[in-house]
């Protein structure tokens, strides 16, 4: 038994883990180690279980190079790596800041693949998810991200209608601020609303989508999912950039904040972006953002390495923009035949929710080697964990994150 106790002690010391945490992780029994030391009898199967856990844990550590080390080498130290209080838009970020968030997310991708997906980095912090617009997946993703980091997560659903009445938005914001949240995640139906709120609160604000403006975490998770797929194929460049990659974004560009954030993010990482939509759903002078504009899907697909499909945002449409979903599918639906026009093995993406049979066919969405739509959802949690972790470092007094220039 002393051998086992020594092994456990060594393991805990090496991995900076408490004995109660070890007991909880392995056997879901917090006082296990201290009871063992006090002479508790255990079965040989339990000993095996403990040894297997230690073995597997160290093996997985060895397989994945510790990302922390690589992160510290490539980016400015401490808070200079990400000198922003809030995450409002991709447009406000430098390329190396985007790369930093993507690198930071890798450790959470790993954690999320463990049986026990928990880290107490944000223990004691309160995160408020203030969603002024309906959301299922983004809200869930942020909630899971906060909880896996050990924060107390509170969700606030505010009906869109109540916000439009005079001062209510600012008043709501002041209320949230008075409750001493440590981070606020906001989704709002009006462009610029999250930035407006951020000016009025004292804690970091994360934009979970503001009107037709930006949805920064979506663009980051898309980049992360794309990076993982390319790495799996051995096509990922060592510097984490997408230089030379041609990405076609097709769908309701006009109403899409996902498109705007992705244009900025993909371009910052070196990719070229093509947009495709019927004229009524293409924003005016979007060429000024450095994209190629297409109205014919077949042309936009020609040789594309990545095809990102967007849904028709009927809830934002003021009047009729397309004759019918059937006709839309006829011109802009991603079918197997159309996908063949893109480069061989082109990757298919969709931020969800999908309207199968409208912008994308079921069999395309489910192509195992090509579609990374479910991976996008997985990466969403990791990227949001990274954002919450990085943005709260100053408050948590993580060393190197307290001082310096802050924008």
């Amino acid at each position: 038994m002393t051998d086992l106790l020594e092994e456990i002690a060594r393991f805990c010391a090496h991995h900076d883990m408490s004995e109660t945490r070890f007991g909880e992780l392995v056997l879901n029994d917090k006082p296990f180690v201290s009871q063992l030391r006090a002479g508790r009898d255990i079965r040989s199967s339990t000993v095996e279980k403990i040894r297997a856990f230690i073995r597997d844990f160290e093996a997985s550590e060895g397989a994945v190079p510790p990302t922390r080390a690589s992160v510290s080498g490539r980016f400015p130290t401490g808070g200079r790596a990400f000198p922003h209080r809030d995450l409002i838009s991709i447009g406000a970020l430098q390329t190396h800041e985007i790369l930093f968030l993507l690198e930071e997310a890798e450790q959470w991708v790993e954690l999320n693949r463990q049986p026990s997906k928990h880290n107490d980095a944000l223990a004691g912090l309160t995160i408020i998810n203030a969603f002024f617009e309906n959301s299922t997946r983004t809200l869930l993703s942020f909630e899971i991200a906060g909880k896996r980091l050990g924060a107390d997560v509170v969700n606030m659903h505010a009906a869109q209608s109540s916000v439009k009445k005079g001062e209510t938005l600012i008043d709501t914001t002041v209320t949230l601020n008075a409750m001493r949240a440590d981070a606020i995640v906001i989704r709002h139906g009006s462009s610029g609303a999250v930035g407006l709120i951020a000016d009025k609160v004292d804690c970091p604000v994360l934009n979970a989508g503001d009107g037709q403006h930006e949805h920064p975490t979506q663009a980051l998770l898309d980049a992360l999912a794309l990076r993982h797929k390319l790495r799996e194929r051995g096509e990922m460049s060592a510097d984490g950039m997408f230089n030379g990659l041609a990405v076609t974004i097709c769908g309701d560009i006009l109403h899409s904040r996902v498109a705007r954030s992705n244009i900025l993010c993909l371009q910052a990482l070196g990719a070229t972006v093509r947009l495709c939509a019927p004229p009524a759903l293409m924003p005016r002078e979007v060429e000024a953002m450095g994209v190629d504009v297409f109205h014919r899907f077949d042309q936009a697909l020609d040789g594309a390495d990545v095809v990102m499909m967007l849904r028709l945002q009927n809830e934002r449409m003021d009047g009729q923009f397309i004759p019918s979903p059937r006709e839309y599918h006829h011109l802009y639906g991603l079918t197997q035949e159309r996908l063949a026009l893109a480069s061989p093995e082109a990757i298919v993406m969709h931020p969800g929710p999908m309207n199968r049979g409208v912008e994308i066919d079921s069999d395309v969405a489910e192509m195992a080697e090509r579609s990374i739509i479910t991976s996008q959802v997985e990466m969403g949690v990791a990227i949001r964990m990274a954002c919450l972790d990085v943005l709260t470092r100053k408050e948590r007094k993580v060393s190197g994150w307290g001082e310096g220039e802050w924008v």
Binding site: G166, S191, D210
Partner: protein, 409 residues
């Protein structure tokens, strides 16, 4: 409050439509008695000290009566838009509004073209005219129904009243809060193409020609629409055009960071259109510069951009902003005051807005060079929603008379 003693303003540069007169301006019994003649013995003398002596400004199309702001800006008369609560679509309300500023400020109510400004049924325009309405206005929106617009113009022609139209095709502009272009695209703002204005202008000019009516567009802000107005004037159509300083001072770049003080109706345009407006002021296509004074408090402006109400508090900055055009050599001094006083007065059919014998003694002394900084927190207006916040400007009113009676500034 009638003028008791005659006043002579001496030592000023008197701005008349025919040019600048060095000399003395004499005000008697609330009217202008003499321009350029020597003062008489019983006159109270006021030394203008070489500054400009100008007509009091006439502001065509304001949304609120905000006397301190108007007086600060040298405005002595304003045409009040019918978009009030309740709207000016009834003779009694027009009569009340017409009295509301007296004696030191005159309000000229604009009759609502349609009942409740709904754009469908004509209001009692003749009764409102006799209650004091000086012109007809469609309000903040155009009249979508071309049949209604035609009948309105025919009726207005019969009554010999000007129709002041809002030039924006409502079906295209919809809920837009910006002009379609790179700025709106980057900010993700609901936007409408600038051509929504040209469409409305083209239709209304055609209908006015058909009806033989006098038509004034309160704001024309795009090159295409200005070209249409220019062409119509050339073939003799009695059409006039106005603009507010925001559209010749600012382009849609001012929308950056979602500054709601720059949320206007019509929205700010591209730099090319801004240049076209300046050109049109220079060549005479634009006849009137007005403040569009529309004070909005924080509950209407401290909101996300698209949710905020449009409008700016412009009364205090109308004069200095227009003077920038004079300093830039776009317009002469005389023409400056034609744009902000004589032309709007002529459209309203009032004997004011010019320093001419027999006209109302609405007079300002203007120090055209005096520098000051626009500060939204220190404005005299009901609210400080100015897109020019923090901007240094030149030109301010140092003395003001309404009907020969000095106004305290």
């Amino acid at each position: 409050m009638k003028q008791v003693t005659p006043i002579s303003i001496t030592g000023g540069r008197i701005v008349t439509s025919d040019g600048i007169v060095e000399g003395n301006l004499r005000l008697v019994d609330g009217l202008i008695a003499a321009v350029g003649e020597a003062p008489q013995d019983e006159d109270v003398l006021v030394d203008a000290g070489g500054k400009l002596v100008t007509p009091g400004l006439v502001d065509l199309g304001v949304f609120a009566i905000d006397k301190p702001a108007f007086h600060f800006g040298g405005i002595t008369r304003a045409a009040l838009m019918p978009d009030q609560s309740p709207p000016l679509d009834h003779p009694a309300r027009v009569r009340f509004a017409a009295q509301s500023g007296k004696p030191d400020f005159w309000v000229h109510p604009l009759a609502a073209a349609t009942a409740a400004l709904d754009g469908s049924s004509l209001a009692e325009i003749a009764l409102m005219r006799d209650a004091g309405a000086r012109a007809i206005a469609t309000g903040r929106h155009w009249i979508a129904d071309s049949g209604v617009m035609l009948r309105l113009l025919q009726y207005a022609a019969m009554l010999d009243m000007v129709v002041i139209a809002h030039a924006e095709d409502g079906a295209i502009s919809g809920r837009a809060s910006a002009t379609a272009g790179e700025m709106a695209t980057r900010l993700g703002l609901p936007s409408a193409p600038a051509e929504a204005e040209a469409l409305a202008v083209a239709r209304d000019i055609a209908l006015a020609e058909l009806a033989g009516a006098r038509l004034h567009f309160r704001q024309v802000t795009t090159r295409a629409a200005l070209d249409l107005v220019r062409a119509a004037k050339a073939r003799g159509v009695p059409v006039t055009a106005g603009v507010t300083p925001a559209h010749f001072m600012l382009s849609d770049l001012a929308l950056a960071e979602y500054r709601t003080f720059a949320r206007l109706s019509p929205p700010l345009r591209s730099q090319q259109d801004r240049e076209a407006v300046i050109e049109a002021i220079g060549d005479g296509t634009i006849d009137v510069i007005a403040s569009g004074h529309d004070p909005r408090g924080p509950e209407e402006k401290r909101l996300p951009f698209a949710d905020a109400e449009p409008g700016m508090a412009g009364a205090e900055t109308l004069l200095p902003m227009t003077l920038t055009l004079m300093r830039d050599g776009v317009i002469s001094t005389e023409r400056t005051f034609d744009l902000i006083a004589s032309n709007p007065a002529r459209l309203l059919g009032v004997q004011a807005g010019a320093l001419r014998v027999g006209f109302e003694a609405d007079v300002a002394i203007v120090d055209a060079e005096k520098p000051w900084v626009v500060d939204s927190r220190e404005m005299t207006a009901l609210a400080g929603n100015t897109p020019f916040d923090g901007q240094p400007v030149q030109g301010s009113v140092t003395a003001l008379w309404k009907g020969g009676v000095a106004v305290a500034l």
